[in-house]
């Protein structure tokens, strides 16, 4: 009997699986006959090729097997599946608990992360014209070639561009002062500090979908000195009084008439505002508004229907060249951000809101999936390991005529049942947990769908079934494939104690655990490092106050005011400056230095205006020279620089800098002037910005017109009492002023809120992941040791020590744990290096972390295994052996 060549026999197999049994023989026979004939006439290869083509022709519906459902009433069978599932569930309590708990935690993690991601992606999706709105952000090429990215753009560009480019339909600019502004109510003399106060062009309401409750969206902001406020602000300011036409004062110097009330902006808007005031008002006092080079505004453009952004982008270099010349095109590189991408576009300074972080989203999505996979691996491991226990059942079923397909369905029904329970639990728990999560992330996520949208519910049920099938697929096929003869003759020993798939899954679990442990350790260390690192100034018992507008208008009162404060008990020192020493937007100036060889150009450096007590109050070390002195009148035109500035100037020692002349153009109370004076001291570096950033060169001088903040250093004891005293004093000095202060320590911590959140979330998820993996390991050991109870008893009787037996039991699993470590750690290393690159100041990724991780992982595994194994090891052999 001639057989077809081996290389095409797989085609036969396919035909055997797919084709109708009544036709199979005829089909294969005909194919064979043709093949043999061609083999003789056309040669082997062409014959084989023709055979292949012919065979493909039979993979058509007419030749397929006819499926006939033989089950008369499927509901009986489904009932039976559920009953059996329930029985198995209650019989194997530990395994079931591990499975359900694991799945529950896995689903909760996935659910919360999924809701979070959906919310993040929904940002700015509610704008009607969202597809046509772009923001122009600017990349600045520094003199040294570095690129710094800002969300800002200059104010005069947008109107000029809209005139010049036919593609642009409209523009809206926003401006937000770097500090919260004081808003007063003319009528009641009440004052509020508003962070979300935006100056905006009148096109605002036609461009963005921010509905007005009162007022005309077309004209509300066309006039100068007008303001539109949110419903909640209206409530806060005016209560039940009609806000329309009321007067507000801005920083005590500018009246604004309320011309509209808008609905509170949705939480998923990256533009956050309580008040929009008309941009035109700025002409009254903001004299840098016409400057083509000052980046301080946000520019949004609405394109015409048929235009695309590339055309506009292509015209930009010409536009900049026309207005700012060659140097401008080099320096300003406009970037176009589609409206809905702004929220997740990270890496720009000066954003309107803190923004999301795409990488973090990916990271947490990955972690949630991993947690779920760990739970799935548990299920597979435990189900296949329990094959021994199920073997007899399966054997009998097969003998009684169960088809393999029916068995598979039965096992799948079991896994779907467990998944279903887990799903319900997860939804219940998630509902309870979400408020905390919302609190933590500042979001407003709900699992209950808004309106009559049942998609979420359907998706949940669908994914429950799908996940159940996925988790149960391998065990189901594995169990259903067991051969009845083998099973019934002698039990399948341990269902293959060395099963490859199980080894693989344990390795996977521990690779993941190792990565989670190492990640947690690294994040925690880096967090400790950045929060504990000496910022270069004294941070304890320091209070920061915002000076209010009324005070700012009379800077000549400063000395008396400070003296008054110093007379309070508990006040050690005070200092007034233009910026808070942490957490403020940096200011820059362009300085010219005389008498330094090889240095003729202006240099851009950080700029800080301080008073005479600054260095003393903040305890900043001086490297050379002296600090400003109250008694030397000439110090008002002197300068201090920091160490980085010294290096930027190319000077070797701090002493060299003393006496060098500095000049720059600035504005005082009486307009622009050139300020010139000598460097009198060099301070050590201090961290004006967070540790994400390198310390920048900094120039400090005295300029009372620009003071905004007061720092008060208290003595150690009875801080609360001192603050109380201060408040009393404050009320006396500023009867209308708000007594609002921040602790410097809190401000420092505030810089790392996102890291703080990430640390908490990561630690939590790691804990959950490791917990589930350990539960799985626990279940596995429980099972495997119970299988070997008799063996262990006999060994004990023959004189084996508990330690030896323990080694015996844990050896295999330990090997897997170690392999897992070797896979997981390099991966973490890679990711950690990327994350740490976000910080200019960071910990070294030494071998220590990885040793710690390894140690911790091994310890966790050991404890998990030992807990169960010890019980068996220490049990009296009699109990194990007596059973039969």
């Amino acid at each position: 009997m001639k057989k077809s060549p081996a290389k095409i026999s797989w085609l036969e197999r396919i035909i055997l699986t797919i084709c109708d049994p009544g036709m199979q023989e005829s089909i294969l026979g005909d194919l064979q006959e043709l093949y043999e004939e061609r083999l003789a006439t056309k040669g082997k290869w062409r014959a084989a090729w023709s055979y292949f083509l012919d065979a493909l022709g039979f993979l058509r519906p007419f030749a397929w097997k006819k499926f006939k459902l033989t089950i008369t009433d499927p509901s009986d069978m489904i009932k039976n599946y559920i009953k059996l599932g329930y029985r198995n569930f209650t019989r194997q309590k530990i395994t079931s608990a591990i499975n359900v708990l694991g799945f529950t935690i896995g689903i909760i993690s996935c659910l919360i992360i999924a809701l979070f991601i959906v919310d993040e992606l929904s940002f700015d999706g509610f704008h009607q014209h969202k597809d046509r709105i772009y923001r122009m952000a600017i990349d600045i090429r520094q003199q040294n070639g570095n690129i710094s990215k800002t969300a800002f753009s200059p104010a005069p560009w947008a109107p000029a561009m809209t005139d010049a480019f036919p593609e642009v339909e409209a523009y809206t600019r926003f401006m937000r002062y770097r500090l919260p502004v004081a808003i007063g109510i003319k009528e009641s003399q009440q004052q509020f500090y508003e962070r979300d106060f935006l100056w905006a062009d009148s096109s605002l309401f036609s461009m963005f979908t921010f509905p007005l409750v009162e007022g005309n969206p077309e004209t509300a902001l066309t006039q100068p000195n007008t303001v539109v406020i949110s419903q909640s602000a209206a409530q806060r300011y005016f209560g039940d009084i009609d806000p329309m036409g009321q007067l507000l004062t801005y920083e005590g110097r500018q009246d604004l008439k309320v011309t509209g009330v808008f609905k509170d902006l949705p939480a998923n808007s990256h533009i956050k505002a309580e008040l929009f005031a008309s941009f035109g008002t700025l002409n009254n006092f903001w004299d840098i508004i016409d400057n083509w080079r000052i980046l301080y505004y946000y520019s949004y453009f609405l394109l015409k229907e048929e235009s695309n952004i590339e055309t506009v982008a292509a015209k930009m270099p010409g536009f900049i060249d026309q207005h700012l010349g060659e140097e401008g095109t080099q320096r300003f590189i406009p970037q176009w951000q589609p409206l809905s991408s702004i929220h997740l576009d990270t890496g720009r300074d000066d954003e309107l809101e803190a923004g999301g972080n795409k990488q973090l989203l990916y990271l947490f999505a990955a972690i949630a999936c991993l947690i779920f996979l760990i739970a799935g691996a548990n299920y597979t491991n435990l189900a296949t390991a329990s094959a021994v226990r199920r073997a007899k059942e399966i054997g009998i079923r097969k003998v009684l005529g169960s088809r393999q397909r029916q068995l598979v369905f039965q096992f799948l029904a079991e896994s779907i049942l467990q998944m279903g329970i887990a799903l319900v639990l997860a939804v219940l728990v998630t509902q309870q947990v979400l408020p905390y999560f919302n609190d933590f992330t500042g979001k407003n996520i709900s699992i209950i769908p808004s309106g009559d949208n049942h998609m979420l519910l359907l998706a949940l049920i669908g994914s429950g079934i799908l996940l159940g099938v996925l988790a149960g697929l391998y065990p189901a096929f594995y169990l259903a494939k067991l051969r009845p003869v083998h099973i019934l003759k002698k039990a399948v020993n341990g269902a293959g104690r060395k099963m490859r798939s199980r080894q693989f899954l344990v390795v996977f679990q521990f690779a993941t655990c190792a990565a989670l442990i190492a990640g947690t350790l690294i994040i925690n260390h880096q967090f400790e490092y950045i929060t504990k690192k000496d910022p270069g100034f004294s941070r304890d018992q320091m209070l920061l106050f915002r000076l209010n507008g009324e005070y700012l208008n009379n800077p000549q009162n400063i000395p008396a005011f400070k003296k008054q404060l110093l007379s309070e008990p508990g006040v050690k020192a005070t200092s007034i400056s233009s910026h808070r020493i942490v957490g403020d937007q940096p200011y820059y100036g362009r300085y010219r230095f005389a008498g330094i060889p090889g240095l003729t150009d202006e240099i851009g450096m950080g700029r800080l205006h301080v008073d005479e007590d600054f260095v003393k109050t903040f305890d900043i070390p001086l490297l050379a020279g002296r600090a400003f002195d109250n008694n030397r009148i000439t110090d008002t035109s002197a300068f201090l620089i920091n160490k980085t500035a010294l290096q930027r100037l190319g000077l070797q020692t701090p002493q060299e800098a003393i006496g060098k002349l500095v000049s720059y153009e600035t504005r005082g109370a009486s307009g622009a002037y050139l300020k010139q004076g000598p460097i009198i001291g060099v301070t050590d570096d201090f961290h004006f910005r967070s540790l994400h950033f390198q310390v920048e060169p900094m120039v400090m001088d005295i300029q009372p017109a620009r003071y905004h903040f007061l720092a008060v250093k208290l003595t150690g004891q009875a801080v609360d009492q001192h603050i109380q005293n201060l408040e009393n004093q404050w009320q006396r000095l500023f009867p209308d002023g708000l007594f609002e202060y921040q602790f410097l320590d809190d401000l420092l911590a505030l810089q790392y809120t996102s890291e703080q959140k990430m640390r908490t979330l990561f630690s939590l998820f790691s804990f959950l992941g490791i917990l589930i993996a350990c539960m799985g390991l626990f279940g596995l050991t429980t099972f495997l040791t119970s299988q070997r109870r008799k063996e262990i008893a006999v060994r004990k009787i023959l004189g084996a020590t508990p330690a030896q037996i323990l080694t015996l039991l844990s050896k295999d699993i330990f090997r897997l744990v170690l392999i897992g470590l070797f896979i997981g750690l390099p991966l973490t290393f890679y990711l950690a290096v990327q994350w740490l690159a976000n910080f200019s100041y960071r910990i070294d990724l030494g071998a220590r972390f990885f040793l710690d991780t390894a140690l911790l992982a091994v310890l966790i595994a050991l404890l998990t295994i030992a807990a169960q194994a010890l019980k068996t090891v220490l049990a009296s052999p009699v109990n194990s052996l007596r059973q039969e």
Binding site: M1, M23, S26, G29, D30, Q32, E33, G57, A63
Partner: protein, 109 residues
């Protein structure tokens, strides 16, 4: 059931089955068609047509004796049923009637 219309290719296959009488199986039908009409059809197409004919009740099949050829596999032999014969007759009659009513002038030179 798939209706009762006898398509052009089906008619060809059914006639070939009749011609081959007791040796009408897949490959034989394929070759006979090839020989007589010059049409080269794939084996699966023949099988598909035979299957359709069987479903329409125009042909029936049974396995023949096993032989050492074809890897020891039996041939599935087809026969024309009475219904098949009737369908062929109807088709032929229709054609004949048409031919009779055509005058020679109808064919434009």
């Amino acid at each position: 059931m798939k209706g009762t219309h006898l398509g052009e290719f089906e008619e060809l296959v059914l006639l070939t089955v009749a011609v081959l009488y007791d040796a009408a199986y897949g490959v034989a039908v394929q070759k006979e068609i090839q020989r007589r009409s010059g049409r080269s059809v794939t084996i699966s197409t023949v099988h598909a047509a035979l299957k359709r004919l069987e479903l329409k009740g125009y042909a029936r099949s049974q396995y023949g004796e096993a032989t050492p050829q074809r890897g020891g596999r039996r041939k599935l032999l087809f026969q024309v049923t009475t219904a098949g014969k009737k369908a062929l007759d109807t088709n032929r009659e229709l054609r004949n009637n048409l031919w009779q009513d055509i005058s020679q002038i109808a064919f434009v030179k």
